[in-house]
Amino acid sequence: MTDILMPALSPTMEEGTLAKWLVKVGDTVSAGDVIAEIETDKATMEVEAVDEGKIEALLVDAGTEGVKVNTPIARLEGGASAPAPAAAAPEAKAEAAAPVPATAKPAAAPVESLPAISQPDWPEGTPTVKITVRDALRDAIAEEMRRDDKVFLMGEEVAQYQGAYKVSRNLLEEFGDRRVIDTPITEMGFAGIGSGAAMAGLKPIIEFMTFNFAMQAIDHIINSSAKTLYMSGGQIKSSIVFRGPNGAASRVAAQHSHDYSSWYANVPGLKVIAPYDAADAKGLLKAAIRDPNPVVFLEHEMMYGNEFDIPEIEDFVLPIGKAKIQKEGKDVTIVAHSRMVGFALKAAEQLAAEGIDAEVVNLRTLRPLDTDTVVASVRKTNRLVTVEEGWGPCGIGAEVAARVTTEAFDDLDAPPARVHQEDVPMPYAANLEAMTVPSVEKIIAAVKQVSYK
């Protein structure tokens, strides 16, 4: 079965009205058929079936107002020839599936050495549990595999070895070798095979041992997956997730430390996600797997073992394309993604002691980039510092700075500053490595620069 979710017209849309159903239970639809019309205060849009199948249930009545984005609104019966999932997950609750609007409430206790998160993605009072980013990713994959037999995991060492970074721990045991597939050592090969399987209607999760090795597969990620829907005049969709660690680890030198954020974020047809903490990892990976488009999901090796709180909510899904105010502040906006969010939070802690109240924006999605949240923050603080692990030229920070200067030029009290890797391939030696990558100190210096302090 496939749930059809309430679509978003824009990153700021959180809910809408289900105006009209154009199908009824029992109808057979093809992918792309218009099945409903929805309305927001801005526009009316058509909802298309993302898959073929028979309408098993309409979950929201016509005329219902305030339907949250990503809430299941209909269910397709499909994949009749496929065996039922080993353990069916309980039905998703609409409230749980919908993201809770940000309300900026400080968390009760900081997590070990990691800075506090100020803005939860779940209702106050929801019980939480500590979990590593690694296990959050694993749980996201497992939950989606239980939910949909079309989802499978493929890559080097994902089955018997349980993943080079143990992200696929116990998945082979639960799902068997049909759905957790060890491949030959050829990124080009399994990215191509995955692209073909996606074109056949499956939902592959392709694990790269690291995104450095995805260089060999980038032709399939871009020329096959990202462009085919467009080139085929909309005939051929490709719902596929390419995931794995991205960016610098530690002492692994130039060919194992490359941050590809801006490479993929440059490409129309791809969605690009870079989670920071466990909640980002779980909620966004589940969203990525359900998304009908190709998604590049950039994890970080240095974050896998870190523990964070996640809510004990069934089917915790976060919206793609929405940034998060990770810490509120009024003096300067620090925009970061992935591991750099943690660096920015630490910098903010130290800056607070010096009387500078920094706001930290966790981008979470790099494409589509949530510039509304960034611009709103800069309008409040009047100063911008971007932080990324990769090189500066044509980088994420360059894009953010361009958007902010275009949309909030008159609100800026200083030229934006960018913190990024120095323009050298990553050296191996620890002292050189430390000098090339962004640091808390460099972020603090950039903040002082834009604050004229």
Binding site: M188, I193, G196, A200, D219, G233, Q235, I236, K271
Partner: protein, 409 residues
């Protein structure tokens, strides 16, 4: 210490360049019917002689002979002939129209029409072909509307691909014809992935992929074959060896004393080498490979030995790199003539009917071209701008919506 021989760099050379006499010496063409037909459900290790022979069914007199002669009806043969002839006539017409500026670019399949036509008719409706740009006859055999081709080539308001793709790079999923890829070889991997997905779902559909002989040098070819062998992907993987990759001859892609079909051996899948200008041999080999795939015995690599009688594209002038009369001396003949002769030999066709069919197809093509011209040729009618931002994502993201607004559409 004895003197060591000085090393010399070896650069392969074709047997004839422009101005030299056509030379097909050394090309061994076995008698039709002389090659054995192994059990399609047999063990791959017992078939390793097959890549070094050449499966042929039609003999000089137009008779279907030997163990590979397929059980196909005269109606199917006539359908195949019609598709091939339609392809030839359409190619000729559109080539001409390109020269008149009605489209920017065209690629002909001349001499290779048997392959797409026969395979299209042998496979089922739900099976999926991952094509190259020289299998137009696949679509013709499935009655794809000519007007769709014309509108795509003219890139006009009714272009089914909305002005997004090069002329000739068609997409027709409902006709079992996947989106053509401009970068060579990638669709081979997709064919194997599609086939594995079919097996994953316990479906009964198989995939078919094409590459040219030059593309066997691409990594995708080898990666796809690795997967096909390891996971028994239900796919038919075809190398169309038409002797020329633009100006580089087949000897640049493969050493002289082996064959493209023989590459299968290293991957543990059967390799067949088949006369690609013999419609019946193509049918027979495709049936054989399909039977094997449907029996969960995995992929077959088929080398179709053929000849690219036309230039690579409208941008190419083959007289600059091969003898001008090489195409007419190709020892395996013209696939259309050979099938026509066969049908006449078995009493199912005659010259008068052939002429009538040619006239009928010509008129159909002219009518489609007229219809397309009425919409508009290149630059005269344009794809709707409003659709430019559609299909980037399943639903447009804000950036696409914003850019569309900025353009006022």
């Amino acid at each position: 210490m004895p003197d060591k021989t000085r090393l010399q760099l070896y650069i392969p050379k074709p047997q004839a360049r422009p101005g030299e006499p056509v030379n097909f010496d050394g090309l061994v063409v076995p008698e039709a019917g002389s090659v054995r037909r192994p059990d399609p459900l047999g063990c791959e290790a017992d078939m390793r002689d097959m890549p070094f022979s050449l499966v042929r069914v039609l003999d000089e007199g137009g008779h279907a002979v030997g163990p590979w002669a397929p059980d196909v009806s005269p109606d199917l043969l006539r359908k195949g002939l019609r598709a091939m002839l339609q392809t030839r006539l359409f190619d000729d017409k559109l080539f001409r129209l390109q020269r008149q500026g009605k489209t920017s670019f065209y690629m002909k399949s001349t001499g290779e029409e048997a392959i797409g036509a026969a395979q299209s008719l042998m496979l089922g409706q739900g099976d999926m072909c991952f094509p190259t740009y020289r299998v137009l006859s696949w679509l013709m055999a499935r009655d794809y509307p000519l007007i769709n081709l014309v509108n795509q080539l003219f890139s006009n308001e009714k272009d089914p691909l909305k002005g997004r793709q090069l002329p000739v790079l068609y997409s027709a999923r409902d006709y079992g014809f996947y989106s053509l890829s401009g970068n060579l070889g990638s669709r081979f991997g997709h064919a194997v992935g599609w086939a594995m997905a079919s097996a994953y779902r316990n479906d009964d559909k198989i995939a078919l992929g094409y590459v040219g002989e030059g593309t066997t040098a691409e990594g995708d070819f080898h990666e796809a074959l690795t997967f096909a062998g390891v996971y028994h992907a239900p796919a038919i993987l075809c190398v169309t060896n038409n002797q020329w990759a633009i100006s580089t001859f087949a000897g640049i892609a493969n050493p002289r004393d082996t064959t493209f079909a023989a590459k299968a051996i290293g991957y543990g899948i059967p390799g067949l080498r088949v006369d690609g200008n013999d419609f019946l041999a193509v049918c027979a080999a495709t049936q054989w490979a399909a039977e094997r795939a449907h029996a969960n015995l995995g992929s077959t690599l088929i080398e179709f030995f053929t000849y690219r009688a036309a230039g690579h594209s409208t941008s190419d002038d083959p007289t600059k790199y091969r003898p001008v009369d090489e195409p007419v001396h190709w020892p395996l003949g013209d696939p259309i003539v050979r099938l026509k002769t066969h049908l006449i030999t078995i009493g199912e066709w005659d010259e008068a009917r052939h002429d009538a069919l040619t006239a009928e197809l010509t008129e159909e093509i002219n009518a489609a071209v007229r219809e397309g011209e009425a919409v508009g040729t290149l630059g005269k009618s344009k794809p709707p701008v409003a659709e430019m931002f559609e299909g980037v994502f399943k639903e447009p993201d804000w950036r696409v919506i914003e850019q569309r607004k900025e353009l006022g559409i």
